[in-house]
Symmetry: C2
Subunit: 356 residues, 2 copies
Amino acid sequence: MSNFRIFKQVPRLLFGENSINRLAELVPAKKDPKDYYVFIIDDVHKDSNIVSRLNLTNADFIEYFPASKKEPATYQVDEIKERIMKEKGNQKPISIIGIGGGSSMDVAKAISVVLCNEGSSSLYQGWDLVPNPGIHKIGIPTVAGSGAEASRTAVLMGKDRKFGINSDFSMFDAIILDRTLIKNVPTNQRFHSGMDCYIHCVESLQGTMINELARGYASKALDLCELVFLADGDDDMLMTASYLGGVSIVNSEVGVCHALSYGLSLELGYRHGYANCIAFDVLEEYYGPYVEKFRKMLKKHNIVLPKGVTKSLDSAALNRMVEMTLRMERPLTNALGENWKQILTPDKILQLYARM
Amino acid sequence: MSNFRIFKQVPRLLFGENSINRLAELVPAKKDPKDYYVFIIDDVHKDSNIVSRLNLTNADFIEYFPASKKEPATYQVDEIKERIMKEKGNQKPISIIGIGGGSSMDVAKAISVVLCNEGSSSLYQGWDLVPNPGIHKIGIPTVAGSGAEASRTAVLMGKDRKFGINSDFSMFDAIILDRTLIKNVPTNQRFHSGMDCYIHCVESLQGTMINELARGYASKALDLCELVFLADGDDDMLMTASYLGGVSIVNSEVGVCHALSYGLSLELGYRHGYANCIAFDVLEEYYGPYVEKFRKMLKKHNIVLPKGVTKSLDSAALNRMVEMTLRMERPLTNALGENWKQILTPDKILQLYARM
């Protein structure tokens, strides 16, 4: 019998130019003077015209999240929750709106969870550990590629690991896909984030834990990525690729690249998309033709990846990275089968890291 | 600003072989002895092993719907509702499960609506006319192609027109896509229903009311239809095509073929997929290369469409068909632009019907 997980989807989407102006159609209406929304906004947008289009009121709680500094962490989520509850006298918001890339959206998801569940967000890292439904939440990507808008996952850095909250209650109730929000993303960030989509589609399609429905999403997202990064595909296509790729990955699994890139983020603090690019570039052995195509994309967009990034790390750090990778059992099973430990040994992992 | 409708999606899906056995994971649990489910099941399955897998209890209300006879009608929906309420002493079910093709699923959707809204189902034919949320409902296609599993629409024959209930409350809460359920569909029905998907994807992609996201769904569904009907695509692909095509059409619009096929169904009682095939075969002028490909599919599957189907109709019947077609303003605007009335005149419609 099929043992695929229940395929979860965001039930409501708004798509198209300036659809962010229609946020009010998706958000629950304020009925009481105490009602308020929480906005988690990537701090690069602090003085942008995105914020001016949100109809913020004094009652709303605005958090500018420093997403470009490093990967979001559980302690940050916990701290923001504390501040919200303190400022609002324990009154919960009626909706949380996450605006930014994967990090800001993931923080919004995680705050939605911890506002309705006791204790630290680190308690809920794992699969289906969240007992109570979270606050209503909306995701609005301003960088495309992570697929966080489509997924159940809120990836957070803990003390010694990078790990996702994966729950039906960490999924957005609605999302807005508005291409005008991604038009000013710097070239490098646009590329790294777009490649996050490309890479997880490759891992999904090349893995064993996929079905025809998820394949439909992943292959369409992959085609669109290629149109965007190797031909003349536009921002609507990139937005669509990010969303469809995200849906696919909710319902399949990543692979070797994500397993290695988590180690890079853990010890070097690299952002997820960037770390994925660095890792993917040494994975010809597993994803040959796609790595070739990825290098064409790098060239076309004049993106130069650093080399020797793990040289400065001591053996303790490298060991933590190997351990982080070995924890990624499901992605590695997806990529390499049940015997993955015989294929991706600690030595092999170190060799791969050494080439990055 | 974007004026696309809010893109609605079924929030939970189960995909894969024998996933019907996992229905209990999707249906609300019975908590009270009075709790029951309503099953609307295409009567071709009456003695099949599909029914034996449903764990039906004596408390449940089972309706075998004669879907193969003709298009479902508002009076049938109203009559089933009356019987349910009478038999159950006005206690409503906690879920309605529609099992069959588009007709049986549409009847399930419509019953969900009328159980929570006063009066006849005919009152709700139109767009967003349903005030109260319907009963929880699940769709399980046993014929692939209509996309009814993905859509907000419950198409019903009224006294003088075929028309859909289109509401957020006529959308399934969950669906099951299990290829084992479609393996015994007769060749002709499989073809006609599959072509419903192919044709509405063509209409969607060739129309003006589409965006990149809906295009992603429609083009993937179209590719899968071609793999299934012109190459060696399998039933998982057909299930996926039907679903993705349905999602696309919720978020774009059909075209000339559907506008004409509704007339055929109204006067000749033809099932939707069959009527679409007959109409599409004369639409080279609008969908040239796709009609060519459709004819290749007909040939490959040894499907022979009837000719001269409108010859026996009197002018009153033909006029009703023309009127039915002219009512399809949105599809015809999608296909032919704002000036569609100058292109698709009553004379032109009669000429097209005469060629069928």
